[in-house]
Assembly symmetry: C2
Homo-oligomer: 344 residues x 2
DNA sequence: GAAACTTATGCAATCGATTGCATCGACTCT
DNA sequence: AGAGTCGATGCAATCGATTGCATAAGTTTC
């Protein structure tokens, strides 16, 4: 029942090493400015006392929390969880902690403001661009050198740093893949268009349909929201159609999976009755039945690059960085959910 | 190009409201101790200045960061991401931030020690019990009133608070379900036994096999690690078996999915050639082909209850709480990956 | 051998919020 | 009217690390 002794402070270390707290601090942050003998004694003292820096004190003095905030629309989505993984790894390798915010509630701007000004986080990775950007950019902090990187979901607002993938081009590539397999009757399950990401995919779909000379049929466009249930609903609608497309470009894998599971209940098979291509290449995609053809997003890379960028911005000299605009490429992964169409 | 003005401090608010900083502080934490007129002026001043509390300063003074740390073995796993979701929601509704640690590296104990003593986090939700508990419990902080709750993965060490599900019983229930469908030849894909959670499921499997008078065959036990690829490997092994079981209890859904996708490549079908039951009920389970029969863990509840417990411990009087030992129940969800066995 | 310089280290102020103690005024009670 | 009580508020110390400035000791140069 020993009571935990008080955690040692820098003063304790100083006393132990018979130097001043200032010297200890210097040993820790810039060892080359301290004599070898003092350095040695301090190092030993740190070991002996089990000293760990008090981040709260450090944050207060330095006005930096060594923490970044990641705001996600939905952690539950496996797409984001892989990215989160990469972000956490990259951040912690650079000595940063990662605070998670999920589904910013009623008043997202207020919320973010609190996090920043309250000195809990130094920078923000924003994956949820369905925010009022006008309001956002009015925050005093968010001005020229904004510690904010918008990831994946691109804001149209040009004032923010962004890391995205080539949603538009990748979507065209997806549709082209269907053309290449002989499909001409192609449908689409959209995401919610308030998300620019979903909008880009939708525009890419339309552009390629037009370019390929395919048929554009409004009744072959299904509205989803990137969730499995919404894909399922779309699949049911599809099954009830009298005149069906032979291929579907689903705005993401979860939608594709929901879709396939729905049509299967209606006795329809993928890819025999309809080819389906998804987007993201989430982990289940290759183990689904059928294994999903999809546009793979470099998720690990997205997380890593965005985090690197944010920390660079945080640690670099203000105004040194121009507006960051990184676009990563997606890759077509052909599996078995799409197949050649032989005239039905 | 206006430079962001300095963020207002409690002193600024005090000056504005013509009171002392102490009074402002009191208005914010215990308004009833302040006169109505002062309270009003302060509230107005807060609004006018746009004041937000500086958490770093508060943490320093209060020795509490209003932050909890969640240590996961693998965020990428959708099972954990749902729990994380619940944890973040519950925590933020009680004013706590959530710091994420993933796959504690080389020296997990060191790592955790740093987080605690450094005052970055007040408490820990530990989902990864493959730690050296001996070492862990030697940390000065981790003594009687440990701000630590072990979740899901139960440590055998009885000194820690835990929130778990009934892995043993649920596994027996899963196997019983297979018996009820007429199966007598039942195999198992294990998780790594260093995890007590996996071990419990394995023990439950064995217990029920014994109780049900089924056949216990070592060659029907496959070693996995709760990942899809490991399930896939197990499935391949299964397919090569000359004398196969007619049903498999997979230690989690990801394993089950990998397994099914592998046997399908070998021309085997689930549930026609083999029934498979998983564990967890992750989101894809119901949309998989076939929809997965599984033991559903109350994931949202797990996350919420564990977080509640941890924060209660943090905010309650020390020593008030006895050792916490919460066990939640899993539920059998019957879908189509298991079917009646008609004598093969 | 003294001036000029360099290097190592300590002193003390600072970051912003909280809180025990002291003070002050208003009110009550005898 | 004087003593005692109570509520509201301010003063000032405190939490622990950092850093500009000052000082002391040691080194170089003419």
């Amino acid at each position: 029942m020993v009571l935990a002794r008080k955690t040692p402070t820098i003063q304790d270390v100083a006393r132990f090493a018979k130097v001043s707290a200032a010297t200890v601090s210097r040993v820790l942050s810039s060892p080359e400015r301290v004599s070898a003998s003092a350095r040695e004694r301090v190092t030993e003292a740190v070991r002996a006392t089990g000293y760990t820096i008090n981040q709260a004190a450090r944050s207060l003095r330095m006005r930096a929390a060594k923490t970044i905030l990641i705001a996600l629309p939905n952690i539950g989505n496996p797409f984001y969880s892989t990215i989160l993984d990469a972000v956490v790894n990259e951040a912690s390798s650079r000595g940063y902690g990662v605070l998670v915010a999920n589904r910013l509630g009623e008043n997202p701007t207020e919320w973010l403001r609190d996090y920043f000004f309250s000195n809990r986080a130094d920078g923000l990775l924003l994956f949820d661009a369905s925010l009022d950007t006008e309001e956002l950019s009015n925050l005093p902090l968010v001005r020229n050198t904004l510690p904010l990187v918008v990831v994946c979901d691109e804001l149209l607002d040009p004032r923010f740093h962004t890391v995205t993938t080539d949603n538009f081009e990748a979507s065209r590539r997806a549709v082209r893949h269907l053309y290449e397999l002989g499909h001409t009757r192609i449908g689409h399950v959209r995401g919610r268009l308030v998300k620019n990401l979903a909008n880009q995919r939708w525009l890419g779909f339309q552009a390629e349909i037009q370019a390929g000379g395919g048929e554009f049929r409004p009744d072959w466009i299904f509205q989803g929201d990137h969730s499995m249930p919404s894909g399922y609903a779309a699949g049911q609608q599809f099954a009830r159609l009298s005149d069906r497309p032979t291929a579907i470009f689903a705005s993401n894998d979860e939608t594709a999976i929901g879709f396939i599971s729905a049509i299967r209940e209606h006795g329809l098979d993928c890819p025999r009755h309809v080819s389906i291509i998804g987007f993201d290449d989430i982990a289940v995609a290759r183990h689904y039945a059928p294994p999903l053809t999809t546009m793979r997003q470099p998720r690990e890379q997205i997380g890593r690059v965005a985090t690197e960028a944010l920390i660079d911005i945080l640690e670099g000299t203000p105004f040194e960085h121009d507006l960051l605009r990184i676009v990563l490429n997606s890759e077509l992964i052909v599996r078995s959910s799409t197949a050649r169409w032989n005239g039905g």
